[in-house]
């Protein structure tokens, strides 16, 4: 019954300085099989995909293709072995047509003077599209005019056209509507019947249950288990595997939970906040002295929430700071109203990378540091020094460019910049992403101190341990809505994951 695997990984390990991203992972992928790989963020799924695609090289272990030991030193070698990865971030040439995109790998190989017949490209492409049941897609259409779902189909068609024996789909339905997802499933099932090995990496447990023949669960870089998907398998089984049995429950960290009783009038009030197409009707309060956590999967809408509250993007609904309404689209006004924002994209949106430590520290509160219109450099120096020693930020000089600092030190400086405005509310989005363990602990301590001094803190994070251990209340988002509110002892990984994976179109 079991066919010979196309690809086997045996004890494959990938170490980065300080982290083991893949820890002796052994897994195989067989023809005519949909093999789902699930796990939390940082579980090692992406690393495994990159090993398969030839983008990164493992430090140990063996890769076998058709039973023979092989190395995949480059993406080209991986493609030659018949492996195709369709990443979540689509890689189409938006200025070319559907047909040209499908035929792109072939066109790229042709000699530069060969005659290009767009008719032929269109013809070849339409046969692939037909094979995938996508006859409705005109090969002449520019991909820029397609929906995200259609663009994804084009990308799959391109992979299939190159005779993929193994197709890796990374979070394929994160941007799709229920009907579009159904279409995708049909295509996946069709490929399976043609003998293709489909690797389906996803957060959406219901969809995994509906589609997969076999399910592998990863956690902390290890493969926890692989099993056949049977009628008895439920999302609860999956969540239990993903989370593990040795979870730290929030009871063991009761310090935060205690502070719930001291909560006063809300500092931030959101009423029916909405960003069309992303999230809808988000209503909650954050009070002085509490750390409120927001959890959710990458497509739940939580990643846009902070930008919307702070006014970086347009929004509908109402935002009140200390009872006063804050207008949309003007971060300056949000700061004036008492908000401070530490965005997730530290290098792109957080730090003023080309500027110095001191300049970054005072950038949000310039008014305090000017006298008769001129910058008071000695005051800037003194204030910066105070913050640097307060948070133990390691810099060699206050004039040092922040681009040369480690992530942890950059984050402390962005935090200092926010605090220099004397805010009442701190919004943090992925506050410890890409930061080493030591600096993480320091940042949590800082947040705890600030909360105990009366700061209202809103922490939006994909890292469950962070949400569990360092917040007093948790809101979980799914499909653009708040799917649940947890506090105190209710805050467990199982509860959060169950709420986060409760998708609208499958719950119904």
């Amino acid at each position: 019954m079991t066919k010979k695997p196309i690809i086997e990984l045996i004890d494959v390990t990938k170490k980065y300085p300080g982290v083991v991203a893949m820890d002796t992972v052994s897994i195989d992928f067989r023809p005519s099989e949909v093999h789902a790989v699930i796990g939390e963020n940082g579980a090692g799924k992406s690393t495994m995909m990159n090993v398969l695609s030839g983008a990164i090289q493992p430090n140990g272990g063996v890769i076998r293709v058709d039973g023979k030991d092989t190395v995949l030193p480059t993406p080209l070698a991986s493609q030659a072995a018949g492996i195709r990865v369709v990443y979540q971030e689509l890689s189409l040439c938006w200025n070319l047509s559907v047909g040209e995109n499908v035929m792109l790998p072939e066109l790229a190989r042709r000699n530069p003077f060969s005659r290009l017949s767009s008719m032929r490209a269109g013809h070849a492409a339409s046969s692939v599209l037909k094979r995938l049941g996508m006859e409705g897609l005109d090969p002449e259409t520019p991909v820029a005019e397609l929906s995200v779902a259609q663009q994804q189909m084009v990308e799959i068609a391109r992979a299939v056209n190159q005779n993929a024996r193994m197709l890796v789909l990374d979070e394929p339905n994160s941007a799709l509507s229920p009907a579009e997802s159904e279409k995708l499933f049909e295509v996946v099932r069709g490929l399976r019947s043609e003998g293709v090995s489909v690797v389906y990496v996803s957060h959406h447990l219901q969809e995994v249950l509906a589609l997969a023949d076999r399910i592998s669960v990863m956690r902390d870089g290890r493969l926890i288990t692989s099993f056949d998907n049977t009628a008895e398998t439920t999302t609860d089984t999956l969540v239990a595997h993903m989370v593990g049995r040795d979870v730290v429950t929030s009871d063991q960290y009761s310090t935060c939970a205690n502070s719930v009783s001291q909560i006063k009038a809300p500092t931030l009030e959101l009423r029916g906040l909405c960003v069309p197409g992303i999230f809808d009707d988000v209503t909650f309060d954050v009070s002085s002295g509490e750390i409120l956590g927001i959890a959710g999967l990458p497509d739940s809408g939580k990643d846009v929430l902070a930008d919307a509250i702070f006014g970086m993007i347009g929004r509908a609904g109402e935002v009140y700071m200390k009872g006063i309404r804050v207008a949309s689209g003007r971060p300056r006004h949000a700061i004036a109203a008492g908000m401070a924002y530490i965005p997730a994209d530290r290098r792109g949106a957080g730090a003023l990378l080309s500027m110095s430590v001191a300049e970054n520290t005072v950038a949000s509160a310039l008014g305090k540091f000017t006298r008769h219109g001129f910058l008071n450099k000695s005051l800037i120096h003194k204030t910066t020094q105070t913050y640097m020693s307060k948070f133990d930020t390691k810099v060699s000089a206050l004039g040092q460019a922040v681009s040369t600092l480690s992530g942890g030190n950059q984050q402390k400086i962005i935090l200092s910049r926010g605090l220099a405005t004397d805010p009442g509310l701190l919004i943090l989005h992925e506050p410890t992403r890409g930061i080493d363990v030591g600096a993480k602990a320091e940042i949590y301590d800082i947040l705890k101190d600030l909360a105990s001094q009366g700061m209202a803190i809103l922490m939006i994070s994909s890292e469950l341990p962070e949400i569990m251990l360092h917040t007093s209340r948790v809101l979980v988002m799914a499909d653009g809505q708040i799917s649940g509110r947890l506090s105190g002892a209710e805050i467990t990984e199982e509860r959060i994951m169950a709420l986060a994976t409760r998708s609208r179109h499958h719950a119904a």
């Binding site: 300056r332 949106a349 080309s354 950038a363 000017t370 219109g373």
Partner: protein, 329 residues
């Protein structure tokens, strides 16, 4: 975290390379020509680069904020001709100057609005304005030269002061144009390195998104840099009119924008924004001025001069880029 020593502060400055290049050029010219080092020649170099320098200070702001302004040569022509025509029509000095400066500032405002709220790349917006403003200058003068003299109608006492601005010497020694340049450079340096506005220009040019998160109103900062640029281009145009004292819409300031950008870039500013200093720009302007002067003194043909200046632009920026890369990797 102690304050760095004076020496390391000097050695660490980005302008050091440009400064050394200038020194080498000056030393070479002092030995190879007898007339270069005379105070009269040096002041003459100063006067020749002044108008370029005034505009370059403005362009420094624009480039640091991450934008570019190609319309400055046309603004220079329109404002100078405008002020000149008003004086010929019998206007007083102050109203005529004010009108010219306001014209420049308004062009800057339009550039700024188009490049921010209009969502056009400033390269395109100001390329369009380059042509529009030049066209307006042609229409306004009907393509005819404008000459400011009493025969054409300028009031004698107005003309005397106007010509002093362009041709006069402070204390009978320092050319007035150089005085204007020095004042603009000093003011520009103070604003850029010492005020909250200057800070915001750097922040917006370094990362517009991070600047917004910090609460900086990126659009207004950029609009102001364009207004400053327009104002300074107008000032330079008016001074040129006062110096000659005539101009023609089809010729005045043609292609000047590229000289201005070249001087600023030689001075170390980055076309991608966030980097640059007024001191660097002044040195960049002087390099181009000294080079031109030196080539003339050496008797090099004007055609060869063009080639040499192009080479200097490329070499100066290349050295800067290559040395930055070796520092970061």
């Amino acid at each position: 975290m102690s304050r760095p020593s004076l020496w390391s502060r000097i050695a660490g400055r980005k302008e050091l390379g440009v400064f050394l290049a200038l020194v080498v050029m000056c030393v070479f010219l002092s030995f190879s020509t007898s007339s270069f080092l005379s105070s009269i020649n040096l002041l003459n170099v100063g006067r020749q680069v002044s108008l370029l320098g005034i505009m370059a200070v403005g362009m420094t702001f624009v480039l640091i904020s991450g934008e570019i302004d190609l319309s400055v040569g046309s603004t220079y022509a329109l404002s100078g001709l405008g002020s000149g025509m008003l004086i010929v029509m019998g206007w007083g000095l102050v109203p005529a100057l004010m009108a010219g400066l306001m014209l420049g500032a308004s062009i800057g405002l339009i550039n700024g609005l188009l490049s921010t709220y209009g969502r056009l790349p400033s390269l395109i917006a100001t390329l369009g304005m380059l042509s529009i403003v030049r066209g307006v200058a042609l229409l306004m003068t009907d393509g005819q030269p404008v000459t400011v003299n009493t025969r054409n109608g300028a009031l004698p006492q107005v003309l005397e002061k106007f010509e002093f601005m362009g041709q006069g010497y402070l204390f009978g020694l320092v050319p007035m144009q150089l005085v204007f340049f020095a004042a603009v450079a000093l003011l520009g340096w103070l604003v850029l390195s010492g005020t909250a506005f200057g800070f915001r220009v750097f922040a917006v040019g370094g990362s517009a998104k991070a600047a917004r998160v910090s609460g900086i109103h990126a659009e207004s900062v950029k609009i102001w840099t364009f207004v400053i640029m327009g104002l300074l281009a107008a000032l330079a145009g008016i001074l040129s009119m006062a110096f000659l004292p005539s101009g023609q819409a089809g010729r005045t300031g043609l292609g000047l924008e590229l000289d201005v950008i070249a001087a600023v870039v030689v001075g170390g500013a980055s076309l991608s924004g966030g980097v640059g200093t007024v001191l660097g720009t002044v040195l960049g302007v002087l390099i181009i001025g000294v080079l031109r002067n030196g080539l003339v003194l050496q008797g090099v043909s004007p055609f060869t001069q063009e080639v040499m200046i192009g080479l200097v632009i490329i070499i100066a920026v290349a050295i800067d880029k290559w040395s930055t890369r070796s520092r970061t990797t």
